[in-house]
C-alpha cells in the first residue's frame, strides 16, 4: 500500500520548502559566491575597492610548499581517521550484534563520544595524553622523549587522529550496527550450522552485505576528515597546527590565513581548491569503488 500526499495547488509545496531554500541561499550560496569573488581579487580586510587579479591568488597558493604540506597532512588525517573509525566501529558493531549480555549498555556507551564537541574532546585529550602528566608520563619516564606531541610533528598528528577517531567511531558504529541487524538471521544461522566460526561468518557473509553501508561511511568520513568542523576544532584546541606545521590540516590553514593573516583572498582561493578536492574524491569513490558495491 502506498501513501502519497497530493498537493492541490502548486504554491503550497514551495511555501513549505521556502524556509529551507532561504537558509541554503543565505548560509551556503551567498558565502560561496563571495568566496568565488574574493578568490580572484585582492580583498582589503576593511572592504573597499578590490582589484581583479585573475589566477594570481591560486598561483601563490600552489607555489607555497607549506600549502602542499597541509594537503599531505589533510590526506593522512582523513585516511587514517576514516580507516580507524570504520574498522573499530565495525568490530564494535559485530560484538554488540552478538547480543551478549550488556550489549544495550555498550551500544549507549559507544555512541556517547559523538555527542561531545571537538574542542572539548581536544582539551580532554591534551591532558590525558600530555607527555608530562598524562597516561604517557610513566612511559616517558622510562624512555625519555618517547612521546612528545609538542616536539614531534608525527606524534602530534597521531594525537589529533586518535581524538578524531575516538569521537567519530560511535557514529560509524551506529550505522554499521543498523546494517548488521538488517542482515537476515537465517543466513548467519545457516552458516553457523555449516560449521563457520564467528570470524568466517563476519568476513564471508556480514561484511559483503554491509558493503553499501561501508561505502556510505567511507564517503562521509573522508569528507568529514577533510572539511568537518571537528577537524578544525580538534586541531585548534590541541596543537594549533604545530609543531612546525606538523598538524596543519587544510581547514586550519584556511582559517589561520584568513583571520590571522587577514588574507581573505588567499584563504578563498584555498577554499575553492579544497571544494574541488572533495568533489574529486567523491567522484573517484563513486566511479571506482561504488562499482564493487552490490545493492540488494
Amino acid at each position: 500500500m502506498e501513501k502519497r500526499a497530493v498537493f492541490k495547488s502548486w504554491w503550497l509545496p514551495i511555501l513549505f520548502a521556502l524556509p529551507q531554500i532561504l537558509l541554503i541561499l543565505l548560509f551556503f550560496y551567498w558565502p560561496a559566491i563571495a568566496v568565488m569573488k574574493w578568490a580572484f581579487t585582492l580583498e582589503p580586510p576593511f572592504g573597499g575597492v578590490a582589484e581583479f587579479v585573475g589566477l594570481t591568488n591560486f598561483d601563490e597558493v600552489f607555489a607555497d610548499p607549506f600549502y602542499w604540506n597541509s594537503v599531505a597532512v589533510s590526506l593522512i588525517f582523513a585516511l587514517c581517521g576514516t580507516c580507524f573509525t570504520i574498522l573499530v566501529g565495525l568490530v564494535l558493531a559485530i560484538a554488540v550484534d552478538r547480543r551478549l549480555p550488556g550489549s544495550g549498555l555498550f551500544r549507549f556507551l559507544y555512541i556517547l563520544p559523538y555527542a561531545i564537541a571537538g574542542p572539548a574532546a581536544g582539551m580532554a585529550f591534551r591532558f590525558i595524553l600530555s607527555p608530562e602528566r598524562g597516561l604517557m608520563a610513566s612511559v616517558n619516564a622510562a624512555f625519555p622523549d618517547f612521546w612528545n606531541p609538542a616536539k614531534y610533528g608525527a606524534h602530534a598528528l597521531i594525537l589529533v587522529i586518535v581524538i578524531f577517531a575516538w569521537k567519530w567511531t560511535g557514529y560509524t558504529f551506529i550505522f554499521l550496527l543498523a546494517g548488521l541487524q538488517s542482515v537476515p538471521r537465517s543466513l548467519t544461522e545457516a552458516a553457523a550450522m555449516d560449521g563457520a566460526g564467528p570470524i568466517r561468518r563476519a568476513i564471508d557473509i556480514q561484511v559483503p552485505l554491509l558493503a553499501p553501508t561501508l561505502f556510505f561511511l567511507l564517503v562521509i568520513m573522508m569528507t568529514e576528515g577533510f572539511v568537518g568542523s571537528d577537524t578544525f576544532g580538534i586541531v585548534h584546541s590541541t596543537t594549533g597546527g604545530g609543531p612546525n606545521h606538523g598538524t596543519e590540516v587544510m581547514v586550519f590553514r584556511i582559517v589561520d590565513e584568513a583571520f590571522k593573516g587577514l588574507n581573505y583572498s588567499g584563504a578563498s582561493a584555498q577554499s575553492i581548491v579544497l571544494i574541488g578536492l572533495i568533489m574529486l574524491f567523491t567522484f573517484i569513490q563513486f566511479r571506482f569503488i561504488e562499482k564493487r558495491v552490490h545493492y540488494k
Binding site: 572592504g47 582589484e51 609538542a150 616536539k151 612546525n244 583571520f259 593573516g261 587577514l262
Partner: protein, 447 residues
C-alpha cells in the same frame, strides 16, 4: 570563553534595564567599546568603564571583551564590514598598519579637536607616540595599555649560586646561567618563541633593523632583513645555550609558559613584558626575592630605547555624531593623571604621558615594594631618542610575520633545524606577506 561574553552581555543588559527603571534620568547616549584584554586585566577595563559611567550623566559606555587581541581585530573588521562597528576598539601593536590604511577610523587629534578637547600631544613619551603616529608625528590612535619587555631574575637563586652581579649583558647572563646550573638549578633561563622580546625588542635595543625603509615607516615596499642582522647571532647563541641545557624552552604546548615557570621558581631568569610585573609579584610565594632589569645587551653595544608593546584605542569611522562626543569624553577621562595612575597601579602597564609618570614618581609610587622596578620600563623606553630602528614597526600583516618567525624559532629549537636557513625562509615568506599587502593597498600612501 563564550561564557564571559555572555556574562558581560547579560551584565550590560541588566545594567541597562536597571538603569532604565530609574526615575527622572535623561536619555543617555550609549556607545560601545571593544577590548582584547581578558582575565584580571579585562576586569580592570570593566572597572575603568564603571568609573566613567558613575562619574557623568550624559553618556554610557558599554564595554565588551573580545577575549584576545587578534579576535578583537577580526571582530572589528567583521563588524565594520557589516556597519555594526563599535565606537572605540582596542587594537594591538601588530595591527597598527592594518588600521592606518583601513580608512575606517577617526584620527585621534581630529576627534579631540572636533569635540572641544585640547590635548598636549607632546606630553606622550615619543617612543610610545611614534608607534601609533603618522610619520609626521600626528597621533592616529590613543596609546592606552603600553608596555615593554624586561628581564626578570630570581635573587634568591642568584645568591645560592654565588652570583654577585646584576646581568646587564648577555655575556653575564651566560655566566649566571652556568653558575645556576652548577648550583643545581635545572632551568637557569626559560624562554618561548614569542618574537616580541626575542626579535623585536632585541633588534631595537641593539639598533638593528627588522625591515628596510625604516622598519616600514617610509613605504609599503619595505623588505624584512632580520635574517641578516645581529639577531641571527643572537639566535645562534640561544641555540648553543639550549644545547648545553642552560636555556630551556617553556611553552604552553609543553605544559608551562615562561611566566608560570618563573613564578613557580622552575626557571630563574625570563624576559617578558612589564605588564606581567603585577602578576609575578602577586604569584611568587612571599619572601622570595626577585628583581626586574632592562633587557640585557651584548657587550660593547650602545643601548637604544626599547619598543612599546601593548595596544592603543582607535575610534571607528561611521558612528553617529553623538557617540563621538561620548567617546572623546571617555578618552579624555582615561588621559587624566588620576586615571592614568590608577590604571598603571592596578595593572603593570606604564603611564603613557610624561605628566602621568612625573606625578607617580612624585607620589613615591615607585619606591614601594610591589611597584619597585616598574620605572625601569620607562627608562628602557626613553633610554635614547628614537632612531629609524627603534621608532616602531610599521609592516602590514605583521601578525603573520610574527607567526613565520616563531615557527622558524620552533623548528630551530625543537627540531634542530639550521638557524640561518630557517630565518632565511621565514624572511622570504614574510616578504611575500608584505608584497601581497602592498598590492592590496596599491596606490595608497603611508601618511
Amino acid at each position: 570563553m563564550r561564557l564571559t561574553v555572555l556574562q558581560s552581555a547579560l551584565a550590560s543588559i541588566l545594567a541597562a534595564t536597571a538603569f532604565g527603571a530609574g526615575p527622572a534620568h535623561a536619555e543617555k547616549t550609549k556607545f560601545e567599546f571593544w577590548y582584547g584584554l581578558s582575565g584580571d586585566l579585562g576586569e580592570r577595563v570593566q572597572d575603568a568603564c564603571k568609573k566613567f559611567n558613575d562619574m557623568q550623566a550624559d553618556y554610557e559606555i558599554v564595554c565588551t571583551s573580545q577575549n584576545s587581541y587578534d579576535t578583537t581585530l577580526q571582530n572589528t573588521i567583521a563588524a565594520y564590514r557589516a556597519k555594526k562597528q563599535p565606537a572605540i576598539t582596542q587594537i594591538y601593536d601588530a595591527g597598527t598598519l592594518d588600521m592606518m590604511l583601513s580608512g575606517a577610523f577617526v584620527p585621534a587629534k581630529k576627534l579631540m579637536a572636533d569635540n572641544g578637547y585640547t590635548i598636549d600631544w607632546t606630553n606622550y613619551f615619543s617612543g610610545i607616540a611614534n608607534y601609533y603616529a603618522t610619520a609626521g608625528g600626528e597621533l592616529n590612535s590613543f596609546p592606552f595599555n603600553s608596555s615593554t619587555a624586561m628581564f626578570y631574575y630570581n635573587v634568591d637563586a642568584f645568591q645560592k649560586a654565588g652570583i654577585d652581579f646584576k646581568p646587564e649583558t648577555w655575556e653575564e647572563v651566560e655566566e649566571a646561567a652556568r653558575k645556576l646550573k652548577a648550583a643545581g638549578f635545572d632551568c637557569p633561563l626559560g624562554f618561548n618563541f614569542d618574537t616580541w622580546q626575542m626579535m623585536e625588542q632585541f633588534s631595537a635595543i641593539h639598533n638593528q633593523p627588522i625591515a628596510t625603509q625604516g622598519n616600514g615607516y617610509q613605504g609599503l615596499d619595505a623588505e624584512l632583513v632580520f635574517n641578516k642582522t645581529k639577531f641571527v647571532d643572537h639566535v645562534k647563541f640561544f641555540k648553543k645555550m639550549v644545547d648545553e641545557k642552560l636555556f630551556v624552552v617553556k611553552t604552553k604546548q609543553l605544559g608551562m609558559d615562561i611566566v608560570p615557570a618563573f613564578t613557580s621558581q622552575t626557571c630563574q631568569m625570563i624576559q617578558t613584558s612589564i605588564a606581567d610585573h603585577g602578576t609575578i609579584g602577586k604569584t611568587l610565594p612571599e619572601g622570595v626575592k626577585w628583581e626586574v632589569a632592562m633587557l640585557p645587551v651584548w657587550k660593547g653595544t650602545q643601548r637604544q630605547n626599547s619598543l612599546v608593546g601593548g595596544a592603543s584605542l582607535w575610534v571607528m569611522a561611521g558612528r553617529p555624531e553623538a557617540e563621538y562626543k561620548g567617546a572623546s569624553a571617555f578618552l579624555n577621562f582615561l588621559a587624566t593623571p588620576e586615571m592614568a595612575q590608577w590604571w598603571s597601579t592596578v595593572t603593570g602597564y606604564i603611564p603613557v604621558t610624561k605628566t602621568g609618570f612625573e606625578a607617580m614618581k612624585a607620589n613615591g609610587f615607585y619606591d614601594k615594594a610591589p611597584y619597585k622596578g616598574r620605572e625601569l620600563a620607562i627608562a628602557s623606553l626613553t633610554y635614547t631618542p628614537t632612531s629609524q630602528n627603534t621608532r616602531g614597526i610599521r609592516l602590514g600583516g605583521f601578525t603573520q610575520v610574527r607567526k613565520e618567525v616563531s615557527t622558524a624559532l620552533e623548528a630551530i629549537f625543537m627540531q634542530n633545524a639550521d638557524v640561518q636557513a630557517e630565518l632565511d625562509q621565514a624572511a622570504d615568506r614574510s616578504n611575500a606577506v608584505l608584497r601581497r599587502f602592498e598590492k592590496t593597498y596599491a596606490g595608497q600612501k603611508l601618511n
